[in-house]
C-alpha cells in the first residue's frame, strides 16, 4: 500500500503519557505552555490526564500535582483548533470520570484495556458513544495477543460503539513486521468506516518505523509525543515522525519547524531526566514489559538493592500487565529476600 498523499491524524501524548516520566507532576503552567504550542503547530488532538488516565490519582500510580478536572479545565479553553482527548482504564476510572470529562469539553475518550480483556470496556464505550463522543477502544500490550485474538477483541469494542480501535504497543516490544501483521489483520476485520490507530513506545527505537508500518497497513491515527516525552524510552517522537511524514508525502497538517520548537524549547527543558533508551528502558522493550513500570522499577531497585533491569525481567516473566505497578515493589522484595538482602516477611 502506498502512503503518498495519505491523510493521517497525529494524536499528541506529551501531556498524558508524558506524565509518567514527570511522575504526574506537570504544573498547570507547563501543561498550558505545551498545549498552546502544540495547538499553534497544528496538532489536531491532544491527550490530557494523569498518565494512568482519568482517576489514576493513587498511591499505586502516583498522586498528580493537580486533578484531572484542573488539568482539563486549564487546557481546553485555550485551544484554538486542537481537540482534547482523555484516557480511561476501566478498573481504575469509572463512567463518573467519563461524564466529568465530557462536561469539561473533552472531545475524544479512549477506553483502554489489556489486549485480551476488551469486554470490561463495554459500559464505558457504550456510554461515550451515547454521549456522541469520538470513542476509541485502546488495546494495550498488543504484543501479548495473537492477530486472531486482537481481531476478536477489536470487534468487541467496535460492537460496543467504538468508532476507532488502537493497536497499542505499551511495552515498545513490537517490530515492524509484527505491527504490519496485527494492524493489517485488525484493519481487514473491522468495518471500513471504523478508524484504526497505533500507539508506539520507543524502547527499541522502533517508534517511527512501527508507526509508518501501521500507516502502511491502514492505520490513520498515530500517537506521538513532543521530544518523545512518554513512559519508558518515550513515545514515538512527534517532531521526527512529522519530518518523516513530510519526506514520504503523508499529510498530517502539522508544521515541522513549529513542532520542533515546541519539543526543543518547551518540552525538553521540563524533563526531569533525558528521555532516552537507557539499559532499563531497553529492557522494557526487550522483555515486553509495560513502559510506565520504568521509574517504579528504578526506585524499587535502589531501595532493595536489586538491579531495575532484573526486576523488569522478572515482571515480564510473571506476565504482569498494565496497571500492576504494585507488583514492582512486591517482586523487588521477594528477589531481595532470595538474595539474602532482606529478612523474611
Amino acid at each position: 500500500m502506498t502512503v503518498k498523499a495519505k491523510k493521517i491524524l497525529v494524536h499528541d501524548m506529551t501531556l498524558r503519557d508524558g506524565m509518567h516520566p514527570k511522575r504526574h507532576l506537570l504544573t498547570l503552567e507547563q501543561m498550558k505552555a505545551v498545549a498552546t504550542g502544540l495547538d499553534a503547530a497544528g496538532v489536531p488532538l491532544i491527550e490530557v490526564t494523569h498518565g494512568d488516565g482519568l482517576g489514576g490519582s493513587s498511591v499505586n500510580y502516583g498522586f498528580p500535582a493537580h486533578s484531572d478536572e484542573e488539568y482539563l479545565s486549564a487546557v481546553i479553553p485555550l485551544m484554538r483548533r486542537a481537540r482534547v482527548s482523555a484516557l480511561l482504564l476501566p478498573g481504575i476510572g469509572t463512567v463518573d470520570h467519563l461524564k466529568m470529562a465530557k462536561d469539561l469539553g473533552v472531545h475524544t475518550i479512549r477506553v483502554a484495556t489489556h489486549c485480551t480483556e476488551a469486554d470490561v470496556a463495554e459500559q464505558h464505550i457504550t456510554l461515550a458513544r451515547k454521549m456522541e463522543m469520538d470513542t476509541v477502544g485502546f488495546l494495550m500490550m498488543a504484543h501479548m495477543a495473537s492477530p486472531e485474538r486482537l481481531v476478536r477483541e477489536a470487534r468487541l469494542m467496535e460492537a460496543y460503539g467504538a468508532n476507532c480501535i488502537y493497536v497499542t504497543d505499551s511495552a515498545g516490544y513490537m517490530l515492524p513486521d509484527e505491527v504490519m501483521e496485527k494492524v493489517g489483520a485488525v484493519r481487514t476485520a473491522l468495518q471500513p468506516e471504523t478508524e484504526l490507530g497505533f500507539h508506539g513506545h520507543h524502547n527499541l527505537a522502533m517508534g517511527v518505523a512501527n508507526s509508518l508500518a501501521a500507516v502502511e497497513c491502514g492505520a490513520n491515527r498515530i500517537d506521538a509525543a513532543a521530544a518523545g516525552l512518554g513512559a519508558g524510552a518515550g513515545n514515538t517522537p512527534l517532531e521526527v515522525f512529522i519530518a518523516v511524514c513530510i519526506r514520504m508525502g503523508i499529510e498530517t497538517g502539522v508544521d515541522l519547524f513549529k513542532i520542533q520548537d515546541v519539543a526543543e524549547d518547551i518540552v525538553v527543558p521540563l524533563m526531569d531526566h533525558p528521555i532516552r533508551i537507557d539499559r532499563d528502558a531497553l529492557t522494557l522493550g526487550y522483555a515486553g514489559v509495560y513502559s510506565s513500570f520504568l521509574l517504579f522499577a528504578k526506585r524499587a531497585g535502589k531501595k532493595y538493592g536489586v538491579p531495575a533491569r532484573e526486576i523488569l525481567i522478572e515482571l515480564g516473566r510473571r506476565g504482569m500487565v498494565g496497571g500492576q505497578e504494585d507488583m514492582i515493589e512486591d517482586a523487588a522484595m521477594t528477589m531481595a529476600r532470595q538474595r539474602g538482602l532482606l529478612m523474611a516477611a
Binding site: G91, I92, D119, Q324, D330, M333, A345
Partner: protein, 309 residues
C-alpha cells in the same frame, strides 16, 4: 441433620455451586434448595445430582416451599439488578438473605471486622461487598484500629479466567462498592479501589495490595502485630490467605502485599477471589446459624414496605 439451618442458594453459577460444597461441610448449615432460571442450567443439574431440590422458575419457584422445607437463610449469587426483588420476597417470609451481588441494599459484611456487630443487630440482609473488599478490608481495618487512616487504597488482581461476565460488564460496581466499604468497614477516611484482570497462563493466584496513608507516624510494631492477628482471623475460613510481602513502612505509607489461594472446592485454587467471597458468605451464615440454633436469634418476617405510587 435436624440440628442444621436449611439454606437456599439463588443462582446456580460457579459461586452458587462452590457454596454448596462449603455448606455441605458445615456442622450448622444444610443446603436444600438451588434456584435458577434456565431449565438447561449445568449448575441446576449438578445440584440435583448432589441431592438438592431445584427450581428453574427463579425465587418465585422457591417461595411456596420456604415454610414447608424450613429454609431460613438464602444466599443470592445472581445480579445486582434482581437482588432487591429477591431479597424483598424472601425476607417477607422471614428468610435471612446473604447478598453476594454488588447490590448492597443491606450493610456491608466483612466477617473478621464487623460480623459480630451485624449479629447483634439481627440484620436480615447483609452484603458481602466484593472479592477485593473481602481480601483487603480486614488489613485496612487492622491498621485503622491502631491509628487513624486518612486514605486507604487497594489493588486487586484477578486472573482473567476467574473474572465472570457479571464482573466484566459492571467493573465500575467493583470499584465503587469496594471504595465505599474501605471507608465504612475498613475505617479509612477516604477509599480507592483498583481492579486489574490478568490473562497469564497458568492463571495467577489472586493478589491484593493494600496501601494506607496514616494520619500520623505509623506505629510499626503495633500495626504489624495487628495485621498478623487479623490475617489469622481470615485464615480460619480462607486458609490460603497469605502475606507475601510487607508491611512496608515508607513515611506515612503502609503497604501490605497479600495473596489469596482458594480452597479448590468447585472453583480452581487460583480463583481465590471467588473463594474468599463464598467462604466469607458461608462464615457469615454459620455465625447467624449458631445464633438461631442457640435460640438467641429468632428470624422474623420483614413486613413489606408500602411502595410510593
Amino acid at each position: 441433620m435436624s440440628n442444621k439451618i436449611k439454606c437456599a442458594l439463588i443462582g446456580p453459577g460457579n459461586i452458587g455451586t462452590d457454596l454448596v460444597y462449603k455448606l455441605k461441610r458445615s456442622p450448622v448449615l444444610d443446603p436444600v434448595w438451588m434456584v435458577g432460571v434456565d431449565p438447561t442450567s449445568e449448575g441446576l443439574r449438578r445440584a440435583r445430582e448432589m441431592g438438592i431440590k431445584t427450581t428453574d422458575r427463579g425465587v418465585d419457584g422457591l417461595l411456596p416451599f420456604v415454610a414447608a422445607d424450613g429454609v431460613q437463610i438464602a444466599f443470592d449469587a445472581t445480579s445486582a439488578y434482581v437482588h432487591a426483588e429477591n431479597s424483598r420476597k424472601l425476607t417477607e417470609l422471614g428468610v435471612m438473605v446473604i447478598d453476594l451481588t454488588p447490590a448492597a441494599i443491606g450493610p456491608f459484611c466483612v466477617p473478621p471486622v464487623n460480623l459480630l456487630e451485624h449479629l447483634g443487630k439481627r440484620e436480615m440482609n447483609v452484603n458481602m461487598v466484593t472479592c477485593g473488599g473481602q481480601a483487603t478490608i480486614p488489613i485496612i481495618a487492622a491498621i485503622s484500629r491502631v491509628q487513624p487512616v486518612g486514605y486507604g487504597e487497594i489493588v486487586a488482581t484477578i486472573s482473567s479466567r476467574s473474572a465472570g461476565p457479571g464482573t466484566r460488564k459492571n467493573i465500575d460496581e467493583f470499584t465503587r462498592t469496594t471504595a465505599a466499604a474501605i471507608e465504612r468497614v475498613g475505617g479509612a477516611r477516604q477509599g480507592k479501589a483498583i481492579i486489574i484482570i490478568n490473562p497469564a497462563e497458568p492463571p495467577l493466584i489472586m493478589r491484593d495490595t493494600v496501601h494506607c496513608l496514616t494520619e500520623s507516624e505509623p506505629d510499626q510494631a503495633a500495626i504489624t502485630a495487628s495485621i498478623d492477628a487479623m490475617i489469622e482471623q481470615v485464615r480460619k475460613y480462607v486458609p490460603g490467605y497469605t502475606r507475601v510481602n510487607g508491611p512496608v513502612f515508607d513515611g506515612h505509607r503502609v503497604s501490605v502485599f497479600m495473596e489469596v489461594e482458594g480452597l479448590g472446592d468447585f472453583l480452581p485454587k487460583y480463583s481465590g477471589n471467588l473463594d474468599i467471597m463464598t467462604a466469607a458468605a458461608a462464615r457469615t451464615a454459620e455465625m447467624f446459624a449458631e445464633e438461631i440454633l442457640s435460640g438467641r436469634m429468632v428470624l422474623k418476617p420483614v413486613p413489606a414496605v408500602a411502595m410510593a405510587a
